[in-house]
Symmetry: none
Subunit: 221 residues, 4 copies
Amino acid sequence: MTSVEEPPRSAGRVRDAARTRAEILDVATQEFARAGYDGARVDEIAARTRTTKRMIYYYFGGKEQLFTAALERAYGAIREAERQLDVEHLDPVAAIRRLAEVTFDHHERHPDFIRLVSIENIHGAEHIAASGKLDRIGSPALEVIRRILAAGQESGLFTADVDAVDLHAVISSFCFFRVANRHTFGVLFGRNLVDPGQREHYRTMLGDMVIAYLTADRAAG
Amino acid sequence: MTSVEEPPRSAGRVRDAARTRAEILDVATQEFARAGYDGARVDEIAARTRTTKRMIYYYFGGKEQLFTAALERAYGAIREAERQLDVEHLDPVAAIRRLAEVTFDHHERHPDFIRLVSIENIHGAEHIAASGKLDRIGSPALEVIRRILAAGQESGLFTADVDAVDLHAVISSFCFFRVANRHTFGVLFGRNLVDPGQREHYRTMLGDMVIAYLTADRAAG
Amino acid sequence: MTSVEEPPRSAGRVRDAARTRAEILDVATQEFARAGYDGARVDEIAARTRTTKRMIYYYFGGKEQLFTAALERAYGAIREAERQLDVEHLDPVAAIRRLAEVTFDHHERHPDFIRLVSIENIHGAEHIAASGKLDRIGSPALEVIRRILAAGQESGLFTADVDAVDLHAVISSFCFFRVANRHTFGVLFGRNLVDPGQREHYRTMLGDMVIAYLTADRAAG
Amino acid sequence: MTSVEEPPRSAGRVRDAARTRAEILDVATQEFARAGYDGARVDEIAARTRTTKRMIYYYFGGKEQLFTAALERAYGAIREAERQLDVEHLDPVAAIRRLAEVTFDHHERHPDFIRLVSIENIHGAEHIAASGKLDRIGSPALEVIRRILAAGQESGLFTADVDAVDLHAVISSFCFFRVANRHTFGVLFGRNLVDPGQREHYRTMLGDMVIAYLTADRAAG
DNA sequence: AATGAATGAGGCTTCATTCAT
DNA sequence: AATGAATGAAGCCTCATTCAT
């Protein structure tokens, strides 16, 4: 009755360990995002987990390593999303728009990731600098951008002088700001940047802006 | 006995008090910017001041109020910079470019303000929401943008469908991201967004992009 | 009715602070002596004091500084005892015997001091080395020994080749060992070195030995 | 198939087990000596061993038993050294000097043993008291001392009233103090008691002192 | 108006040990 | 006989704040 498919006898524990690690990482991400690095409470993370505080230290070593692990996982997710990007069949304009939308959507869907990155910047990026996993990892999107820009510039559609990393920065800026600064922006200007009813508006606007920039006749400025 | 010319007897003290307040605020801004709200240490702020920790409580009430005061002062500075903005004599394109540059320059010059805003967003903008001084204060830039957009749209130079707040968000996004996320961006992509040698490049790029967006033929997208 | 003798109004607090410090030091000495540096519990020290654990950190800074302070006070006490030493009027033999007795008595009366010194040696004397108060403080007894030896050697009573520091080491050895190693010695040899009934015996023995050594004809060995 | 010459199948393991035990004991001795009983870390001991922490519990039961085992082995070594003592052919004076030298040399060569004994005394000798192996084991040296004293007293060379255990205490005092308290003594008096260049000096001094004491005319004191 | 002294509450971490095979 | 994974209990310390003039 026990099929060969079944995991070995110790699998239960092993799977539990992996699940526990993942659970800790989930809760830690939320807690760090909620209150910042120093504001986050290891006790609180433990309390919202099926394990104890002790286990956090057993699995991760400490608060700092836990934060780094949460950051690594979050960056892994966006890299994965970018890796899924399939724009080879699209013309340069559509491809860039698609790229902007994927970036937009990922930021929209992962506000905690955005907060983690904000927090990491408050701390001078010390954790990713020391991570080894993230140091100079770049972004799969970059290679895609490079290919699209080359194609667009070759075909004469795009202005020739745009750099891939700069373009990535421009796209990220808007996506990031819209999520990261939504609170102060909302209070200051009375406008909710992440209002679902405005999502399509901003998504289009970003694409429009990038395309306009890439196809503009610089002499016009 | 005391002529009207004479300052009141406590004037020296009063001026000292004002100076002390300002000094505390300076140091607090740096300390909060350095380590985030919870990472900042009241002891550290006091140590780097000519007063004692007790005085911080005497003048501001507590850590939270001190943070709010620092934030209020920082926002006051950028509003002041925007108020200096004199673009009435410029054509819409030049005016928008000028506005973008002023915003760019202010962000460049006040990285601590940027960090304070990042931190405030980590905390859901609770301090400015409760501030009274900042709540819905908006931005002097906004009125300027509205006027420029109206002129540009009327003259047919600008595409008709751009909103002033949205444009402000776009400009702020890039200026903010470049400073706020320079650490993670630097480590991840090996590129220093605030490299002085690239400052003019990015300043121009922002203007180009905004102008391109405003003058674009949307049908092109 | 309140006489001028009375302490100023803030004296109560000040005296309380001094008393509290002293009380903490008393209890800390006992606790460190009881269990060694790492075995000692800050919580336990606090519990046996009229203050809280927090006050220990307020007054001393931490466990390590508390240990150092206890050590400094204990060394201060023996130096004071040695400073009381008045042997100028005695002949060299009686003077040396008196010195040995004072040393013997101080060790006898301060077993906690002995333990503190044992503990400090386990830790490589790092605390006194860093103390500043104790570093190379030497001992008042040393100068006394030097004078006695000089007198004794000059008069021909003492063998000429004995060094003051060496003699101090010899005297201290026995006094220290008798107290510090009484537990293992007792279990191993079934003899209580600090048995009150044997105190005079050991006190005399030490003097006899030292005198014998100082007055011996080395050729005899 | 298995000849009688062959070790039993488990011999390899058994020998390994014995070697592992010895290795653990070596490292434990160093670690306890380094930091005291409570300062020593089971993790550290395990890390410096080819086994795991779990094995320490498997072989010894716990930290306390491990300390006891280390102590037992160290005491076994000095007892063995004393057992090697061959002074039957020497005259009483030479014999006593030889005994003092052997004790001196053993202390010199086993500073970790000295530290273990210091630590054990900090803890009231509770481990050796409970050991069974060490309780009232005395010292082989004692019997030797007794015989030498008897011979020396009988021949009139030695003063009659010296007890063997007392003499053992005197000799041990100096040997022990010189090693155990070298750190505080060094810092306090600026003199290194275990300076190799002074070894012979102190070795001779101890012998001189003991002989002087044993041969002295008590009336002199 | 200004301040030195004191403090309650909670933070992160690490220890020796045992569970479960 | 031997072991990898897990853990309860407690450790030291530091934080923002208030007491009491």
